[in-house]
């Protein structure tokens, strides 16, 4: 009787249809759980040495389920960057103090915040950079997935630059500014990865001076 009752309850639960919104939320939660488990393993064992089996074990899901969400570790990395970009834009919108700041400070804050966020996963980021150098990789700037993500990032930067243009702080630079800053952002991450100074202060100095120089250059051209 008791067993039958339990079976009945389980059947009743299964029978309740899951709303599409709820399903998407659950799916997203599982993806984040997998990412969290993977990042922990990447920090411990390194990106290349971590297997999908280890990730699925740590995330407490079947390996097959893992493949339903991420076909490769590169997909996981792309998801990581997508999440980071979303967090970064949300964070930026919340920073009231930055609204009246000059452009160099705003852009400094964005890169610095990003570096702060990714600093626990330095080895993983380094590995991703190496992988991204391969043209066939989905992490390569040439891949459509990367470009989609990149486009989202460029629009975010473009918006900040447009606001600055409208205030008359810098001359009109069009979309070139966002592209240039995107490349600069990548270059700073490369520098940061190999920066062995205490607290990575050399990166702070390079970032600050470069942005101030660029801002000055934009305003004064070769007359800096």
């Amino acid at each position: 009787m008791m067993l039958g009752h339990r079976t009945k309850q389980r059947t009743a639960r299964k029978a309740r249809p899951e709303s599409p919104g709820k399903r998407a939320q659950n799916k997203e939660r599982t993806k984040r759980d997998i990412l969290r488990a993977a990042l922990g393993l990447f920090s411990k064992n390194g990106f290349f040495r971590t297997t999908t089996k280890q990730i699925s074990n740590k995330a407490k899901i079947a390996e097959g389920t893992l493949f339903n969400y991420f076909k490769t570790k590169e997909d996981l990395a792309l998801y990581f960057f997508e999440q980071e970009l979303a967090r970064l834009t949300e964070w930026y919108e919340e920073q009231r103090d930055l609204r009246d700041a000059g452009l160099p400070e705003k852009l400094f804050a964005i890169i610095h915040r990003h570096l702060e966020r990714i600093s626990p996963y330095e080895e993983f980021i380094g590995a991703v950079y190496l992988r991204a150098l391969q043209p066939v990789s989905r992490l390569s700037l040439l891949s459509l997935e990367s470009q989609e993500l990149n486009l989202r990032y460029l629009r975010f930067i473009q918006q900040i630059l447009r606001e600055t243009e409208e205030k008359g702080e810098i001359p009109k630079i069009g979309d070139f500014g966002a592209y240039a800053f995107g490349l600069f952002h990548l270059a700073i991450i490369s520098y940061w990865l190999q920066d062995s100074s205490l607290g990575k202060e050399n990166t702070l100095a390079l970032l600050d001076r470069s942005l101030k120089f660029a801002n000055s250059f934009l305003n004064k051209g070769w007359e800096w």
Partner: protein, 452 residues
């Protein structure tokens, strides 16, 4: 056009320094060209205008370069005979006008050094600095225990920048180019540059500065008119220095706002003179960054001392020398003169006896002017007149031209001493210097036996 921004690389800085030279030359050539068409009577005014404009240009360029070049500007402003008066007043402003780190950078640098953001370790932290320093900037904060503190944060990677800049300074002989003064070349410049580099690199170590503060606080605690901050070691690192807040206003602000009476000006002047000699003769070290902004004065004339990054320690020989000067040891004969010349300029007594005598005569005249009590003239020295400063500039000039060598320790001492007279000049103090010194020596009888 002068940029407010700092060039990012060594190459950028080279270009900037080159440009500074070029633009000054350009302006100067323009001035010379114009001069051809000017009447004789108009020339002096035009020259003054040019010097003022060049001085402002130098100050702005040095500000944007920061680091050693700016420091060099400060030192030149303190003791250089080499620049016209217009340039001196501009250069004296360098430290107070240094461009600031924006709040996000200051916060990031704090985290890079302390390991936590300011808001995590303080109850309150003001993102905007209230004072600038050549190597960093100072913020107000309140500790979790409720104490008001001053937090000095260093520009990131300034030590590396300084090391690079000194290589650059040596390669372009900047001191000579900035001033157009060609006398300062060779070993004299190298010795001074090396001393400057050593001092500046030491200034980048805030742990060292904290130790200096502790030492000065301990040794000066018996003086009820001096306030030295205390260090919060738990919130300090080699690049962040957290100190108790010292009340008072920088001397120039104090003078401008409070319009103090002559009596109060004299009292502060006497205290500064006493404090300087006390450091030299009792501690054998001096607070060697005599920028007026480093002296905070309150309404009762108490003196708050800040910025202990540059502290110069002296050998017993050197202390002996300075005491000998102040006690008029030259009256004891040529042997003393030769010994003093050797200590100051490193002149071989046998090789240049006449030069030694000549320079010593100048120095003697200077100290006779500074401490006139014993010679029967009026005992009051009026520092409101610029006679003391000008005489010191002239002596320094002659020394550099004629000896081409100087004891680097003396260069630092000279800078601090010139700073003291500059403060007394700002105060327009009228002081019986001999009486102050006499009283002071009575208090340190132990040191008398050290006089040669």
């Amino acid at each position: 056009m002068v940029s407010k921004e700092r060039p990012q690389t060594r190459i950028g800085r080279s270009l900037r320094i080159g440009r500074l030279g070029l633009s000054l030359t350009g302006s100067y050539l323009g001035y010379q060209f114009q001069n051809l068409f000017l009447k004789e009577s108009e020339r002096p005014g035009k020259r003054t205008a040019f010097q003022k404009s060049a001085a402002q240009r130098i100050r702005k360029e040095l500000e944007s370069l920061k680091g050693p070049v700016m420091k060099l500007g400060q030192i030149l402003s303190m003791q250089s005979h080499m620049l016209p008066e217009e340039a001196l007043s501009e250069l004296a402003n360098l430290q107070m006008r240094a461009p600031a780190m924006h709040p996000t950078l200051a916060r990031a640098q704090f985290k890079a050094s302390v390991g936590k953001f300011p808001e995590e370790v303080f109850r309150e932290f003001t993102p905007e600095p209230f004072a600038a320093a050549s190597l960093g900037q100072v913020h107000r904060a309140v500790t979790k225990a409720g104490e008001k503190v001053a937090v000095k944060i260093q520009y990131p990677a300034i030590r590396t920048a300084i090391e690079h800049d000194f290589k650059l300074l040596r390669s372009v002989s900047l001191p000579g180019r900035l001033t157009g003064y060609t006398g300062l070349t060779g070993p004299a410049t190298e010795a001074m540059t090396a001393e400057l580099e050593r001092g500046m690199l030491q200034e980048t170590d805030y742990v060292n500065e904290g130790r200096n503060i502790d030492a000065f606080r301990e040794r000066l605690k018996f003086l009820n008119y001096v306030c030295v901050p205390s260090v919060h070691w738990d919130l300090s690192t080699d690049r962040v220095l957290c100190m108790s807040f010292v009340p008072g206003e920088p001397l120039p602000d104090f003078l401008a706002r409070n319009k103090p009476s002559q009596e109060l000006r004299n009292r502060i002047g006497i205290r500064l003179l006493e404090l300087f000699n006390l450091q030299l003769h009792r501690m054998h070290q001096i607070h060697a960054d005599p920028h007026p902004g480093n002296y905070l004065i309150d309404s009762d004339g108490r003196i708050g001392l800040v910025d202990f990054g540059c502290v110069k320690k002296f050998s017993q020989d050197f202390i002996e020398l300075m005491r000998a000067f102040e006690e008029r040891a030259w009256l004891r004969g040529d042997e003393h003169v030769r010994r003093m010349a050797h200590l100051i300029w490193g002149l071989a007594a046998s090789s240049k006896p006449q030069l030694a005598r000549k320079l010593m005569d100048q120095a003697i005249a200077f100290y006779e002017m500074l401490f006139p009590g014993a010679s029967g003239r009026t005992a009051i020295v009026d520092f409101g007149s610029d006679k003391v400063l000008k005489t010191m500039f002239r002596i320094w000039d002659d020394t550099c031209v004629q000896t081409k060598t100087v004891n680097p320790g003396f260069a630092f001492y000279s800078r601090a001493e010139m700073g003291l007279y500059n403060l007394l000049h700002l105060l327009r103090a009228r002081i019986n210097t001999s009486a102050v010194l006499e009283k002071f020596y009575e208090q340190i009888d132990d040191h008398r036996k050290l006089v040669c």
